[in-house]
Symmetry: C3
Subunit: 241 residues, 3 copies
Amino acid sequence: MSTYVLVHGAWHTGAQFAPVAAHLRQAGHTVFTPTIAGNRSDDVKTTGLAEAIQSILDYLVENSLSNVILLGHSYGGMVITGVADRIPERLRRLIYWVAFVPNDGEALVDMVPPDRVAILEALAAGRGDGSVVLPFQVWREAFINDADLETATRAYELLNLHPFRTFTEKISLRTNPAEMVLPKSYLVCTEDTALPHGAWRHPRLSEKLGLFRLVQTTGSHELCFSDPARLAKAILEAGRD
Amino acid sequence: MSTYVLVHGAWHTGAQFAPVAAHLRQAGHTVFTPTIAGNRSDDVKTTGLAEAIQSILDYLVENSLSNVILLGHSYGGMVITGVADRIPERLRRLIYWVAFVPNDGEALVDMVPPDRVAILEALAAGRGDGSVVLPFQVWREAFINDADLETATRAYELLNLHPFRTFTEKISLRTNPAEMVLPKSYLVCTEDTALPHGAWRHPRLSEKLGLFRLVQTTGSHELCFSDPARLAKAILEAGRD
Amino acid sequence: MSTYVLVHGAWHTGAQFAPVAAHLRQAGHTVFTPTIAGNRSDDVKTTGLAEAIQSILDYLVENSLSNVILLGHSYGGMVITGVADRIPERLRRLIYWVAFVPNDGEALVDMVPPDRVAILEALAAGRGDGSVVLPFQVWREAFINDADLETATRAYELLNLHPFRTFTEKISLRTNPAEMVLPKSYLVCTEDTALPHGAWRHPRLSEKLGLFRLVQTTGSHELCFSDPARLAKAILEAGRD
């Protein structure tokens, strides 16, 4: 049996992985669902990427976790890449679930179409506390397109203010993902449109992993809400040896 | 419960939506399946795109329809875009089912690979009455590739002579689809090869919608014949709020 | 009922098609699973592509097979293209299962990303007997990503030394596949990553067929091991008239 650490995406906390974690535990695995610094309700919203990475690195060390299958969702791909660069000896495999894959010196916004970056910047500027929030209509149509309206609304109410600087701060890596010797999986949800199909998401992101295992399942960017059981099944196919 | 108006593609009439409409009605919805001007058996085959659009616009007005979920299949995407530009106040959402998405000044043939346009032109020239007809082998291999031969043959016998000028006449729009404030869905059949995979269909067409909801299902361009129940299920996921 | 001849890919023999063939026979079809020259355990490993093609051509002639649905898997696409060019009168349809589609004068390595060709060349050079062998980790992650480790290991142990010259020798064709009048199907496994997604596999390979029937199923490049029943079902959809 394996140890899974599930690292959430922007606007989420670890708590939203609870239904997925329950399925993984039913299959006999140990599961941790930490919340990244900057996403806790009482965090200031000026947190940057280095601090976010450090918080998950600390979590693994403080809990003495090893042989970890480390999953990152979306923005969480930035975080797990930073962790893997620093403490690969604690990891068994990386799973990028519809996640960003950075090389040294890249920020998340470098992997997003410029017109969408402009929208995020405008949203962040409109708030003024360092955070950015997704408009409901964007969430409903482009992030959780596979759910009914009630599920989409309920999930939206769980989202938190995300620190925008984690999107704009460049990552510092000693080793790019393609050169990491760790096994790596990329988990695609085929109806995910958080990044536009075509030139921006898989395979543009996954090919930065070098050798990797592709797992695909139907579903949106937010399959954790719309079908946690299906997501758990796909995670197990991505995480096994 | 919602009101659906299903606008067929080239070579079809509204009658071929009957099995899909039956499934939608079973789910409690009101469904209309008009036939576009130019596709009725006694129509002259010199109808152009503006006339085709006007016929569906008139249908909505004459039947006093409002709050309509308006679906267009393939060529029908040209028609619903024109209708949405003229009477958006009667619509609740647009659904493009493997459909063309035109901007102002574009004709359908501007979204088709030039070598296929040449084939269509040759087929139209060979008839001489303004119509174009698909050869059976193209229909069977590239349009209804997911059905058995009997279904493919039976469906082919239902097709009508399509007015070629609806493919070559440029659309006139006040507002391009990306700027329309209406909610929009794009419904992809993953084995659809009526347009070649790669640079020509989704996402090249869907991205012209701006913010939109992606729904995908397995099936060919002619899922209305090969699995109407599956198509109806996908339409409901595309059409809900 | 039809006659299927299943032509394996690199590192395989016909024996590994036995589970798939059993499903096709249950459906009433006659099935042959020859082994290409160069892949038999006692073959010298300097066999080239022309010799490989000749061996399957001879098999069809010696067994007096006609009206054949001829399937090629991966490298087997090179072989069936060569056979179809020489004896089209014996064939009913070609099925390319995640297979290479060559035009006259192309070698398999011309359709593989240069960095992967370099890896194959290095692997071949390291052996020195003309053969090339896949490292287990590449097999497990990129070829049979949909199976569990036990299945992946068991299948790996069945692989044979593949003659590298069949990858580098250019094919000689009188007629390119797009101009062949034979019906053609392309069968995609959607999680196949033996060739990278994006610019290298479907649709880049399938579009060289001209008019063709697309059939897709979930699964890896090695669905013959991970789910022979699902592969057989897809083959029947690809092979029927």
